[in-house]
Symmetry: C2
Subunit: 204 residues, 2 copies
């Protein structure tokens, strides 16, 4: 089977897919679109969005749906329906947090963007990040049931990009999330990916 991932030349929502493909030892084409190219190719994408994963030419969009599919193959999607549910909830809560950050950094109006930043730093970030920290603490160092799942890979994969975009150390004083990040990055297949992945502005 052939796997081709199309995403921007940075980590963000593409990176959890790259983590999972690496974890699964799947060779994939890591097709990276530069931001300058994007306006001219956006209309060719199924919903005008990235990432896309093509499996044997079949085109798939939606990062978390793709991750869930790959995670099932990797036995990282829960050992029963209840555990899968808790993983899905963790991922969607983190995605919602990412969405809050994104509506800040994409705000075209400098004045409202500055106002948003104050709320972000004083409310949105501590509110969400403290919750995630508590969840990982209560679950023995992982998001769900004390064991590695694709929720952990998703969060760690996306995190660097969020930190770059908001320029806030989201892990400061959150030792359980810090430790989780180290654990994910030490998984041999992911470690090997990190060592060979191309640099991009968000992880330079």
């Amino acid at each position: 089977m052939t796997y081709k991932l199309t995403y921007f030349n940075f980590t963000a929502l593409g990176e959890p897919i790259r983590f999972l493909l690496s974890y699964l030892d799947i060779d994939f084409e890591d097709n990276r679109i530069e931001l300058e190219q994007w306006p001219s190719v956006k209309h060719t994408m199924p919903f005008g969005t990235l990432p896309l994963l093509e499996i044997d030419g079949k085109v798939l969009n939606q990062s978390s749906a793709i991750c869930r599919y790959l995670a099932k193959k990797a036995n990282l999607a829960g050992s029963d329906d209840w555990e899968s549910l808790l993983i899905d909830i963790a991922v969607d809560n983190f995605k919602d947090f990412g969405q809050c950050l994104k509506s800040y950094w994409f705000d075209p109006n400098e004045e409202s963007k500055a106002a948003r930043y104050v709320t972000l730093v004083n409310e949105t970030i501590p509110y969400h990040m403290d919750k995630f920290e508590n969840i990982v603490r209560e679950n023995n160092g992982y998001f769900v049931n004390g064991k590695l799942s694709w929720a952990d890979l998703f969060v760690v994969g996306v995190l660097d990009h969020l930190i770059y975009r908001v320029n806030v150390d989201l892990l400061k004083d959150r030792p359980n999330l810090q430790a989780l990040r180290e654990k994910v990055l030490a998984v041999p297949k992911i470690k090997a990916w990190i060592e060979k992945r191309p640099l991009s502005f968000d992880i330079a």
Copy 2:
């Protein structure tokens, strides 16, 4: 087992869960919070959001994660991993569309809201709704593989609220989506729910 759904007194993201619980013939407490109450109870919710489903007192948030879990019990979550993936993609594409609409109707600035409305009506709505119409046409009247899945229940459950919020007939000239809506609403357990559900401002 006891099921308690907490949501606002309208359809939107609560309604697909109500559809699925009804489809499964599960008795549930349909706990509805009035918008006036919301500011005083928001801080008691796990992530400050609704809907919540409590199963035997265990509190779950995230509408699509909850729907997926219930859909598995209802055999509406795909017959294999690939079909489940296609269902997940359909749901997330529709959720992204809903998010576009929501950022319009929640825009507090009247001027930018008016500008957004023009883009919404001329671009965002036709772009997405025509894609959904084509997907349903190409899949023999359903979102995925010519058979009922929770993607269909999700879209039909949420649709009335979106139509109310943007005051645009999203199904106009989209016969495949219209027919899908009729099919979902004619499923006996869902029909029975529709007949007995409380009225709210979005479906009055």
